[in-house]
């Protein structure tokens, strides 16, 4: 009885299944099936022998990976750069949203906001090309800094390892500040205007109102986004590091886990080691995302809007 009921319900909406099943098969091929490739991480994989013919070595690849200085260097670079992106990304986007909110001239406000999105729509290749020419020895940054007397002779920003992380962080700020501020600006516009009026009556100035009304008003948005972003801490991106940091001098600070995988997999042909590194990253990332979600729920901060 139950069964035929279920059958009836399925039959009634069979056109839904006609629509969804091809998409599920497609997703299986492109997202689930390649997971079988993880078997390479436990083998000494040779393409000629295939997944099933290669020699099984257990956790040897992981052991090798965890003893590899280069891997831990890539791990460090990934975590440091993504922490820097996180901190600067948040601070600049929030401050920008707060200041933009204080602009009263609405057309100027709108134009500023539109312009601030522009770099988000450029590809990393283009952004890196722009960054490279701005930071060149005769570029605008060196010109302005020397005119202001901050530096005496041109600085080679892209030739010096100790600057590289800052270059990456500020390239990210330049590219994503406006885009990331969208959500804060929207959250600010949801704050009850009566709160501002009350604060003004109490004699609070502009800064006090920003500090005591606007910031608390977007606090939950900030907390949720912060937690969610902590979940993707192993995604430092790799495009900017690859494009600006492939220079031999910079490898020590620019190589991220993704670039490590690319190098061992595609250039050196050590597929097993590269797969092990990629798998390590995915597993940690999934664990982080789930903990981040759990923390957000526990804090009761999931009521973003």
């Amino acid at each position: 009885m139950q069964k035929s009921n279920l059958g009836k319900r399925i039959a009634k909406s069979r056109s839904l299944y006609v629509m969804i099943i091809p998409c599920m098969i497609f997703t299986f091929i492109f997202a689930y099936y390649p997971l079988t490739g993880w078997i390479m991480a436990f083998e000494n994989f040779r393409p000629a022998k295939g997944y099933w013919g290669s020699k099984f070595v257990g956790f040897d690849q992981f052991r090798f990976l965890f003893e590899d200085f280069e891997f831990w260097r890539a791990f460090r670079n990934t975590v440091v750069m993504s922490m820097m992106n996180l901190v600067f990304g948040f601070v600049f986007a929030i401050v920008f949203a707060l200041l933009l909110n204080e602009i009263r001239h609405s057309a100027f406000k709108r134009i500023t906001q539109t312009v601030s999105y522009l770099p988000h729509f450029l590809s990393w290749v283009i952004v890196c090309a722009l960054v490279q020419s701005m930071l060149a020895s005769d570029g605008i940054v060196n010109t302005v800094f020397s005119k202001l007397g901050i530096i005496k002779k041109p600085v080679l920003f892209l030739g010096e390892p100790s600057y590289f992380w800052w270059v990456v962080a500020f390239s990210n700020v330049w590219k994503e500040m406006g885009w990331n501020s969208i959500i804060y600006i929207a959250a600010i516009s949801g704050i009850d205007p009566a709160l501002y009026e009350a604060a003004e009556l109490d004699g609070a100035g502009r800064f006090r109102r920003m500090w005591h009304v606007t910031l608390p008003g977007i606090r939950s948005t900030i907390v949720v986004l912060l937690i969610m972003n902590l979940g993707s801490i192993l995604n430092a991106g790799f495009e900017v590091q690859y494009l600006l940091g492939s220079n031999g001098l910079l490898v020590d600070v620019s190589q991220t886990i993704d670039i490590f995988v690319l190098k061992y997999g595609m250039s050196i042909g050590n597929y097993s080691l590269a797969t092990a590194a990629g798998m390590f990253k995915t597993v940690i990332a999934v664990a982080l995302v789930f903990s981040a979600n759990a923390v957000a729920n526990r804090l009761g901060e999931n009521s973003l809007m």
Binding site: R9, K12, S13, S15, L16, M19, I20, C23, F26, T27, I29, F30, A31, Y32, Y33, P34, L35, T36, G37, W38, M40, P47, F96, L99, R104, F108, T112, S116, L118, F121, L122, S123, V125, I126, C128, A129, L130, Q132, S133, M134, D138, W174, G178, A186, R206, F207, M228, S246, N247, V261, G265, Y271, A274, T275, G278, M279, T282, V286, L304, M305
Partner: protein, 303 residues
Amino acid sequence: MNNHAIKRKKRFHIPVFDIVNTLIMLLVIAIMLYPFLNTVAISFNDAQDTLRGGIGLWPRVFSAYSYEMVFRNRLMVTAAFNSVARTLLATVLSVFFSAMIAYVLSRQELVGRKFITAYFVVTMYVSAGLIPTYFLIKKLGLLNNFLVYIFPGMISVFNVIVIKSFIQSLPDSLTEAAIVDGAGHFRCFWNVVLPCCKPVLATVALWCAVGAWNSWFDTFLYAPNADHMTTLQYEMMKLLSSSMQTGRDTSSIFGNNSQQANIITPVSIRAAVTIVASVPILVVYPFLQKYFVKGVMLGAVKG
């Protein structure tokens, strides 16, 4: 007296804040626009003159020769064609399939809805990674095949979720009428739901288009040496990496022909390619602004 003092204080303080704030915003605008406008100026400046340096926001010796060279180069024309083709195809297909999946997942009567939703959502978090994906693409015969630009990213689960939450915000009566009328689900999706989803579809289409237009890594990985597969971003990436490695040196594809009357330089060519590769997106996005702001909100809530 006291009241007067507050008023005076206010009158004195607020303009200072506003002036400083406006200046900060103008500085932001300048920082956002300068690199781009400077590149436009360089791209329209005579190549030899550019080498003297000091080009700001306006060309010193106007010349469109760099653009002429770009558009006369066979490889660049192929690249531009491929970029346009992959962007159009990927956007149309991805929006269609994402919307269709979103529609199905929004139907309450779908048996196994939770399972099917989870089936898609899992792929957002668990990905096989670079090497296994590469072997899959190779096995499917998609290396050096144009379809590699379309298939792997065709179903975006993130976009499915965004569209789904939009569909769920539509009134139920909308689709009920169509279903009662005996229209099948596909017709209900195509004729009733899709037209109501225009705002969210515009957002998602913009994201897909930007993603497809801006990607270079798939070319780099799956078709690095196939001239017929190249895209503008990939050519740009080659120009960039040759200049990263050799400083400002000759680029590989254009060469420097000494017999030519007009000189071309990597700096100018690169500037022209930068503009060609970014202008199409930049003329579109301001018009879609009101849509994608809403889309970002939907994505943030659900993502």
